[in-house]
Symmetry: C2
Subunit: 658 residues, 2 copies
C-alpha cells in the first residue's frame, strides 16, 4: 500500500449538469459514485462486465477502450467508466439514464467533508516548532595530548558545551563507540541526541556517536501499529521531508481478528511471544519496503516512534495484556521509558531509540492520543468530536479546556468482521456501491479493480446507505422483497440482496448482503453514535453544539460523509464542520518525530483526557437502543436533512414507478 | 580469604621489658616480629624447624607444644612461638638472646600506625546520613474498580505519593512485573528504588516491584575489582550491617600480572571477551561464597556497587582499554550510567542495579576515588597524603580545598612481580621477616604458616629493611659478603642472601633474595616516594607539611610502618600521622551503598581532583633518581630519625662483633 497526493481536474456529468473536482488519475467510475451519479457496474471495476458505458463529450481520458465496445461505439466516444482515467478536465454523458429526476439522485452530493490541511514540517518551521526529537550534533575537538588527556566522554561534552549544548546523559552504547570514533576521524564525531521533552527539566540522551560528520543523515521512522494494519513513514529529520509511506496487514491477524481474541491468544503457552514476533515482523516488512523504495540505509535511522492501541502497544512491548480484557479493564502503564528498537525484534541497528505513545485507558490508546495531538484539538477553542474509526472505535469530545474520551464496543463490522461476505479492504473487496432505485441494479467497485470477492467496511456503508435511500431496505434494515428487482430474495439466512451475481464474482457464487449483516452494521454504528451522545450528555452538551468533527483511522480515509450520515454513523452537521484526517496515529507519530514541543503536548493530552467507561455510564444503554435504526429513532430531530431527502427520494421513486 | 576484628591482650617480652598489645588469637611469633623482637625461625611458622623457642613465664598460651620439645622443656614452660596463640595477657622470655643491646633491636618499634576507626552505618545514622542508595518501599493500594481503573503504574505512583515519595522513573523491567505483583498480593507491593544522587535534581528509579512486603530484604553487594584480587561484601541496607566479606584472586591473572599486559591481551582476538568473563567469574565466585556463608538469597540483592582501577573497570564494562596504555593515556569515560548487573555476566538476578565508581584518569581510577571518599580526606582541613598501594601505586595530596593526584609507575615488585622468588601473598609466601644482626639468622613467617615457597611484597619490605638495618645490605642494596653469616653468598645472579635453606623450603631449593630483586624493590619504592615529592613540589609544599598519611590498598593491610620507612617507601613522619585503612576501594563502595550523601560527594571528588602525568612533570626524574637509595639520597634531611638509628644500630653491631 502507498498513498500520494495529486493535482485535480473538473468533471462535468451530463445530463445532470453536475460539476465536481477529482484527482488526476482517478477512475471515472469512482468519481461518478463519489459524486452520487449512478452508473451500473457489476464486475467491481475490472472492465469485464461492460456495463459502465459513458460518452466522453469534451476533453480527453486515458483508457476506457475494451473489446466489450464495438468499433462504432469507440468512434462515438463511448468508453467504460471503470477503465477510464482522468488526465484533465472532461465532460461525460451518462447513457443509461433512468427518467429519475436528477435532484433525487444527486441531492446528497452536497460536497465532501473538508480535506484536512494537516500540519507538517513547513508549518512547524514557520512557528519555530520544528525541533526534531533527535538531533545529530557534529563536533570537532582538539586532539588529546599529555597536557590535556581528559577522558573521551568529557572531551565530547566539552565540545558540545562550546556549541552551547548542555544537560547531556550519555548512554552506555555511545560511550563504547566513542574512543574509536574520535580517533578514526581526526577528532570529529557526530552525536545522535534524543532531546529531553522538557529542555530545562530532563537530559538530552546521547544514543550514539559516529566518526566524522553524519549530521545530515538523520532519519526517523513513524509507526502506526494497528490491530489490522501497520503503517510506517520515513522522515528526513534534517529537512522535515517525508520520504515515503508504506503499509501492510498486521500479521497478528492470523491469531485473531480483534484485540479480544488476541488477548485470549496471548494467554496461551507461547502466545505472547508469537504475537510479539508477528507484530515485529510486520513492522520490519514495512520498514524494509520503505528502505527499498527510498534508498535509505537502515544505519542512518536514529529513532522510531510508535503508536498503537493499548493492546497492540502492550503486546509489542511484551507486556501481558490480560487485565485489559478483564473488568475493571486496567492497562499496565500510560508511559513507557525510552527504549531501544532492537530489543523488541525490530530489524533496526542497536543505536535506534524507540519511543512509544502513552495510553489513556485500556481502550483509548496511544493511537488516539497521537491523533488528538496531530489534529491539535487540544489547542483549539472549538468544541470538537474526534472519532478514531479503525478495528475499534474511540471517541474524544472536548477542546483546549477539557477532553472526555471513551471506547465504543463497535465490533468488527467496519472491518468486514461478522459479515457473511465481509472481508478487509484487500483486493477484490467491494469498497464502493451505488444502486439505481428504479431498477435495483448496482454499481460495484472493488479494491484493486479486480473481480469481486466480498465486501469491506466502506462498501458495506455504501451498500446499506444506497439500498436504504432507494427504498430497497427499511429503517430497521429489513429488505423490501416487493421491489421489482430480482436481486432481493429469500436466502438461507433470511431476506438478502445480491450484490454480485455468481458469473461476475470470483469464487463463482452470488455475493449477498443479508439481514444479519445489516444488523451487525447497525449495531456497530449505533455503538459509535451512542458513544458521542453519551459523552456529550455527560457534559450537558448536544450534537448540535459540535463545531467540528474530526474523523481519523485507516477506515477514515475512504469513508463517504453523506452515506455515513444516512446510516447514522456520523452525526448530521454541515459538511464544512467535518475534517477527515486519515491515519491520525501516523500523523501524530510523524509530528512527534519532528517537534519536541509537540512531544511535550502529548503528556498534557494524557493528563487532561478523562476516560469514561461506557458500560457503566447511566445513559449509554438508552442512547444505544435509540441508535439501532437507520439513521436513528429520533430521525426528525437528529437527522432532519437526511429525513427530508429520504422522503423526497421515496416520493420520486414512487412517481417513477407509477 | 576473610577478615575479622578481635579483642586484645598485653604481651611482655623479657629480658627487654617491652610490652605490646596484640589481638587475641595472634601467633606469638607474629607479635614478636611486629614488636621488633627477633626470634630465629626458618620454616615460615609451620612448626617444623623448632627454632623459635620461648619460655612462657606468666599467663597462658594455647598450643606451642611440639615433638621438637623435650618433656623437660615442656614442663619448664618452653614453647614454639610460631605455634603459640594468645588467649590473654602473657609474659614471654626470649631464650636465644644475643648480647646485643635491646635498644638497638627494638628502637624502631615506636608503635604502630593509627588503627583506622572507619566510618560505618552507626556514624552515618548519627549524622543522619544513613540514606542507602536503594530503598525498598512497600505500598498498599485500593483495588482497581470500574470507577478507578487507572493504569497499574499510576496506581503505584499514587500510592508512593501518599507516602510523600516523588520524582520517580519506572524502568521497563519493573513495569512488566507490576500487574502480576498487584494482583498476587491483595494490592500490596514493594518497589525497589535506586535513589537519585541529588534528590532535587534527578529521578528515583524503580528497578523492580515485588508482590507483598519485602522491604526488609534489601541487600547490597560492594565489590572491589582489583588487578590481583577481588573483594566483596554483603551489606544489609535495612540495618546497615555488613553481613560478610570475602575475597579471591582475579582470575584475569592468567592473562597477565599487571594492567599493561592485560591491555595488550585485550587487543588480541577474543581477548576482551575472555578478560571480561574472567573478571565476572571471579566476582561471581566471591558472591557465591558470600551467599553461602551469610545464608542470603541472591534474589534479595538489590544493588551492586563496584570500584576498580580504570583498566579493570573498562575491561569489566567491555570497553576497550587500549588508549589507556598509549600516550597520551586517555580513558574512555569518567562516569558510566546506572546499569544492570546481569548484563555484564554477574550471576545476579536481572533486577540488580550496577553502579560503577568514576575514574579521574587512566591510572587514577574509581578505586582511588572510593578510597578518598571512604576516608573523607576531601572533607578534612588537614593536608593529607593518600597512598593506594596495590598492584599499581596511586597518590593523592590535598585537603578539603584542593586535591592533586598521580599514578606512580611502581611496577609489580610490591606484588612479588620481577622478584626471583617473588609471589603474591598466597599460601607459603614469606610475609614477615627479621634477622639477627650478629648471626645473620632470620625469622621467617609465611602466609598460612606453611612451608616457605617464595616471598611476597610485605616479606620483601621486611627482609630488605631488616637486612639493611643489620648491615647485611648497604644503602644501594648491595649485600655485605664479609658478614660472618653463611647466608650471604655469590649466586648465579650475583650476590644474594638465602632466606630459607632448601631443607626448610617447599620445592627443595634455597629461597634467595638477589641484588636484582632488591633493585626492583628500590625502583618501586623510589617511584612512590618521587610521586609524593613531585605532587608536593607542584604545590610548593614538602613532606614535613603533611599532617596525615593514609595508606590504602590490599597491600596496605599488612605493611609495617617502620620497615616501610627504613626502605624509604613511607615518608618519615611521626607514627600518629599515619592511618592504615586496608582496602579503601571496598570501604568506599560499602559507604556508597549506605549513603546517598556520600554518593553525591563522589562527583565532587572527581571534579576537584587534578591529575598530574608524572612522566612529563619537570621535577619527577630528579626526585626519582634521588629516591633510588635506602632510605633516600638525602637521608639526613628527609629521614633524620631513621638515619640516626641506622648509625646507632651499626655501631652496636660493630661493638658486639668486636
Amino acid at each position: 500500500m502507498s498513498s500520494q497526493g495529486n493535482e485535480q481536474a473538473t468533471i462535468r456529468f451530463e445530463p445532470y449538469g453536475l460539476e465536481v473536482k477529482a484527482d488526476i488519475g482517478s477512475a471515472l467510475l469512482d468519481v461518478a459514485l463519489e459524486a452520487g451519479v449512478h452508473i451500473n457496474a457489476s464486475c467491481g471495476g475490472k472492465g469485464v462486465c461492460g456495463k459502465c458505458r459513458v460518452i466522453i463529450e469534451q476533453g480527453q481520458i486515458e483508457g476506457g477502450i475494451s473489446e466489450k465496445l464495438s468499433q462504432k461505439d469507440r468512434e462515438s466516444g463511448v468508453r467504460l467508466a471503470c477503465q477510464s482515467k482522468l488526465t484533465g478536465d472532461v465532460t461525460v454523458r451518462i447513457t443509461d439514464v433512468s427518467a429519475l429526476n436528477k435532484d433525487a439522485l444527486i441531492a446528497l452530493a452536497s460536497g465532501p467533508a473538508q480535506q484536512a490541511t494537516l500540519i507538517g514540517a513547513d508549518e512547524l518551521k514557520a512557528e519555530n516548532r520544528y525541533q526534531p526529537a533527535i538531533d545529530k550534533l557534529m563536533v570537532q575537538a582538539q586532539p588529546a595530548t599529555l597536557a590535556d588527556n581528559r577522558n573521551d566522554v568529557d572531551r565530547l561534552l566539552l565540545a558540545l558545551k562550546d556549541k552551547g549544548e548542555h544537560r547531556f546523559a550519555i548512554e552506555y552504547e555511545a560511550i563504547r563507540e566513542l574512543p574509536g570514533a574520535w580517533r578514526n576521524s581526526d577528532w570529529q564525531v557526530t552525536a545522535t541526541v534524543l532531546r529531553a521533552v522538557y529542555p530545562e527539566a530532563g537530559h538530552n540522551h546521547i544514543l550514539r556517536v559516529e566518526p566524522g560528520d553524519t549530521s545530515s543523515r538523520n532519519i526517523a521512522v513513524a509507526v502506526d501499529l494497528g490491530t489490522t494494519t501497520v503503517w510506517a513513514q520515513f522522515i528526513d529529520l534534517s529537512s522535515g521531508k517525508v520520504l515515503g509511506t508504506e503499509g501492510d496487514f498486521n500479521s497478528q491477524i492470523g491469531f485473531g481478528e480483534d484485540v479480544i481474541t488476541r488477548i485470549v491468544y496471548a494467554g496461551k503457552p507461547g502466545g505472547m511471544r508469537r504475537l510479539q514476533e508477528a507484530a515485529a515482523k510486520s513492522i520490519n516488512g514495512v520498514i524494509k519496503s520503505l528502505a527499498r523504495s527510498t534508498g535509505i540505509e537502515l544505519n542512518d535511522i536514529s529513532l522510531c516512534i510508535l503508536a498503537g492501541n493499548t493492546t497492540m502497544t502492550q503486546l509489542f512491548l511484551d507486556m501481558d495484556p490480560k487485565y485489559i480484557r478483564l473488568e475493571p479493564y486496567v492497562p499496565t502503564a500510560a508511559y513507557y521509558p525510552p527504549l531501544r528498537a532492537d530489543r523488541f525484534g525490530l530489524a533496526l541497528p542497536d543505536h535506534v531509540g524507540l519511543l512509544v505513545f502513552p495510553a489513556v485507558a485500556s481502550y483509548v490508546g496511544g493511537d488516539v492520543v497521537a491523533g488528538v495531538m496531530g489534529t491539535g484539538m487540544h489547542k483549539d477553542e472549538r468544541l470538537t468530536l474526534f472519532i478514531d474509526l479503525g478495528t475499534n472505535g474511540e471517541v474524544v469530545v472536548g477542546n483546549k479546556d477539557w477532553m472526555a474520551c471513551a471506547a465504543a464496543s463497535a465490533g468488527p463490522a467496519f472491518e468486514g468482521g461478522g459479515i457473511k461476505f465481509g472481508m478487509r479492504a484487500a483486493k477484490g473487496a467491494i469498497e464502493n456501491f451505488s444502486v439505481n432505485p428504479i431498477t435495483g441494479e448496482p454499481a460495484v467497485l472493488t479494491v484493486g479493480r479486480s473481480l469481486p470477492k466480498g465486501i469491506c467496511g466502506s462498501g458495506l456503508i455504501a451498500a446499506v446507505a444506497s439500498l436504504f435511500m432507494a427504498g430497497i431496505m427499511d429503517e430497521r434494515g429489513r429488505f423490501n422483497l416487493d421491489h421489482p428487482t430480482d436481486r432481493t430474495r429469500e436466502g438461507e439466512d433470511g431476506p438478502e440482496y445480491v450484490l454480485v451475481w455468481a458469473e461476475d464474482a470470483e469464487g463463482g457464487r452470488d455475493i449477498t448482503l443479508t439481514e444479519p449483516d445489516v444488523d451487525n452494521l447497525i449495531r456497530a454504528k449505533g455503538a459509535m453514535y451512542a458513544a458521542y451522545m453519551t459523552l456529550l450528555d455527560g457534559v450537558g452538551l448536544s450534537i448540535q453544539d459540535l463545531e467540528r468533527v474530526i474523523l481519523a483511522g485507516g477506515f477514515g480515509q475512504s469513508i463517504n460523509l453523506e452515506r455515513s450520515q444516512i446510516i447514522g454513523l456520523m452525526p448530521e452537521l454541515p459538511a464544512e464542520r467535518f475534517l477527515f484526517v486519515g491515519n491520525g496515529s501516523l500523523l501524530g507519530t510523524r509530528l512527534a518525530c519532528m517537534s519536541n514541543p509537540l512531544r511535550a503536548e502529548v503528556g498534557e493530552i494524557v493528563e487532561r483526557m478523562t476516560n469514561f467507561e461506557l458500560s457503566v455510564a447511566p445513559r449509554y444503554m438508552d442512547n444505544y437502543t435509540s441508535s439501532l435504526f437507520l439513521p436513528h429513532t429520533e430521525c426528525e430531530k437528529l437527522f432532519p436533512v437526511i429525513c427530508g431527502r429520504l422522503k423526497e427520494a421515496r416520493q420520486a421513486v414512487k412517481a417513477m414507478q407509477a
